[in-house]
């Protein structure tokens, strides 16, 4: 596992996370959550595209993929809650590390959405 040490690495990880969640919820038969994950993925792609400027590219420290291991095999209700909790933790950790305000807001927003889902 490697560290998420750039703006692109963090955003790309988040985009892949939402893509994986969309597939996961399809498999779990929850079309609504799959659609929400897919929507977040599209929005994150736009955030990456619109907010990456060379003057803001400073190294990011203290984020590692290893801290956000996800079990996509467990589609039970408990498994879904656990996955949402890990996703929420990722967004909570990542948001303050990003020095671009719009991107930071998006990560905070998605962190809250995942927290709400993990509590549901």
């Amino acid at each position: 596992m490697t560290s998420l040490n750039t703006f692109g690495a963090v955003l790309s990880y988040a985009i892949q996370l939402e893509a994986d969640l969309a597939s996961y919820y399809q498999k779990a038969g929850n079309a609504e959550r799959a659609k929400e994950a897919d929507k977040r993925k599209s929005k994150l792609e736009r955030v990456r595209r619109e907010n990456v400027l060379e003057i803001t590219l400073e190294p990011i420290e203290g984020l590692s993929e290893a801290d956000y291991a996800l079990d996509f095999e467990d589609t039970s209700s408990a498994g879904q809650q656990k996955i949402e909790g890990v996703a929420a933790q990722f967004y909570a950790d990542a948001a303050p590390k990003i020095n671009v305000l719009q991107a930071q807001r998006a990560l905070e927003r998605y962190g809250k959405e995942h927290t709400a889902l993990s509590d549901a």
């Binding site: 490697t2 560290s3 998420l4 040490n5 750039t6 703006f7 692109g8 690495a9 790309s12 990456r48 595209r49 619109e50 907010n51 990456v52 400027l53 060379e54 003057i55 803001t56 590219l57 400073e58 190294p59």
Partner: protein
């Protein structure tokens, strides 16, 4: 069979008349991506004739319609954003985030061009004399060309082309033969706009086509971005041939770090400024001058951060710094580090002889920091255009300003401080076209003019912003009396 790129002239992709080609190589993998034709004066002449033919129809196309093309162009650029970034990485070697940033900056220039209908408006005055009104008209000026560099193969062409054509001119782009594929993709997208033939033209090649662009009587004006010696040649050649010209040259950008600066934030910012795009940008930080205690404070922190920079292939998201443009650039950079060392600079962090696993033949130079640099050393005076940061000491703010102003270049300079008075003095006294205050890369956004001073710029009107409207238009004064 490796493909040979084509020129785009008069709305068609055409083969060059020249038989010589230039290999386009991925500087990390050493794969030959394509061959650029070394286009000839004959090719340039065809492009100029097409641009001249297209001009009359295009200039009479309503300005709002001309701007509409750029709305569509922006959509296409957004749709192909990741493809554009990937091509930049492949032919230039920079990290994917930097390539994305470059595409974003390019799109900002398209956004700016969409506003040309507003910016091209002129003024007038009634009754300058009895019953006489006087009005300024701003009109397109003809065929413009740009000769653009390898370091921002997507962004720099877009500094010029969108504004030039929305102003009603026709345009010829001659990109660097080291990075021509980005321009090919730009033109594939432009082709989708169904612009009238001749409005935009692409000539691939090196010196012969550049020379022909500068000398052709049908070209009204030329924009250039590159090194200072070449900028001077471009300026002199173009003016000798009666053209307007904006020639942006090289740089040796100094950063003054005051003892009262937020050292942690400053060092992080200086890191990006010095080593971003492997130091191959005209706004890269090349010399950091530590004032008083700041020297020792920043030195250790810079080395600590720089030695952890992840150097690798730009398409890997974790890569923080990619290659330099070529093996010969790597040799030149390493040779200049050697010269600095021989003149007495202390190598605090050595990026020479770096190999990256899986890309053993790639043109990698790691972050390099030289300490105890003196004003007369080559690493303090000459542009290295690589990931090399020279550290110098100054006892006072005034001494730091004097060191900066001694440079023959004047593209950018920055200060890191928490003292507003010193920041003001810095803005006031330093001779550079772009000033950063607690910003390492003082890069103007698309709505501001961009250009340096001293040997960093030859011409008067800078690129981008309101200067670009002046550059791409003629003003005509109309004095009327109706009795």
């Amino acid at each position: 069979m490796e493909r040979i790129l084509k020129n785009y002239i008069g709305g068609e992709w055409v083969e060059s008349a020249a038989s010589d080609t230039i290999a386009v190589t991925n500087p990390a993998t050493c794969e030959v991506l394509a061959h650029s034709p070394d286009s000839s004066a004959e090719d340039v002449n065809s492009a100029v004739l097409a641009a001249q033919e297209g001009f009359e129809e295009w200039r009479s196309t309503p300005v709002m319609s001309r701007a509409q093309y750029m709305h569509h162009f922006k959509v296409l650029l957004e749709d192909r954003f990741e493809d554009l970034a990937k091509i930049i990485v492949e032919e230039n070697g920079k990290a994917i985030d930097e390539a994305r940033g470059e595409v974003r900056r390019g799109i900002e220039s398209v956004d700016f061009a969409i506003g040309v209908p507003f910016m091209m408006r002129s003024d007038g005055l009634e009754d300058v004399s009895s019953g006489i009104d006087e009005t300024t008209l701003r009109q397109p000026a003809g065929v413009f060309a740009a000769i653009t560099p390898f370091n921002f193969p997507m962004m720099v062409p877009l500094w010029f082309l969108p504004t030039a054509i929305v102003c009603g001119n026709t345009f010829i782009l001659k990109p660097s033969p080291q990075t021509p594929i980005s321009s090919e993709l730009i033109f594939e997208l432009l082709e989708e706009l169904d612009l009238p033939p001749g409005v935009v033209n692409l000539i691939q090649g090196g010196i012969p086509s550049s020379q022909a662009v500068m000398e052709h009587p049908g070209v009204t004006g030329v924009s250039f971005v590159g090194s200072s010696p070449v900028a001077r040649i471009v300026y002199e050649t173009c003016t000798r041939h009666g053209k307007r010209v904006q020639a942006q040259g090289g740089a040796k950008n100094y950063i003054a770090v005051m003892p009262d600066a937020d050292m942690n934030a400053s060092v992080k910012n200086i890191m990006g400024a010095a080593f971003g795009c492997a130091g191959q940008r005209c706004l890269a930080a090349a010399v950091a001058v530590g004032v008083g205690d700041a020297y020792d404070m920043m030195k250790d922190e810079l080395v600590k951060y720089a030695q952890n920079v992840q150097v690798g292939y730009g398409l890997d998201e974790k890569t923080q710094m990619g290659t330099v443009i070529s093996d010969s650039a790597k040799e030149r950079i390493e040779s200049m580090i050697q010269q600095g060392e021989a003149q007495g600079a202390k190598v605090l962090l050595d990026g020479r002889n770096l190999t990256v696993e899986g890309y053993e033949n790639g043109a990698f130079v790691g972050p390099t920091i030289l300490g105890d640099v003196e004003a007369e050393m080559v690493v303090a005076t000459d542009e290295i255009f690589g990931p090399v940061l020279s550290l110098m000491k100054a006892d006072t703010f005034e001494e730091a300003v004097e060191l900066i102003n001694k440079s023959k270049y004047g593209n950018a300079a920055s200060i890191f401080t928490s003292n507003g008075k010193q920041a003001r003095e810095f803005k006031y006294k330093v001779k550079a076209g772009n000033i950063g205050v607690n910003i390492g890369v003082a890069a103007p956004s698309a709505s501001f003019p961009f250009g340096g001073q001293k040997e960093s710029f030859y011409g008067d009107l800078h690129g981008q912003g309101s200067d670009s409207i002046e550059f791409y238009t003629e003003r005509k004064i109309v004095i009327e009396r109706w009795t």
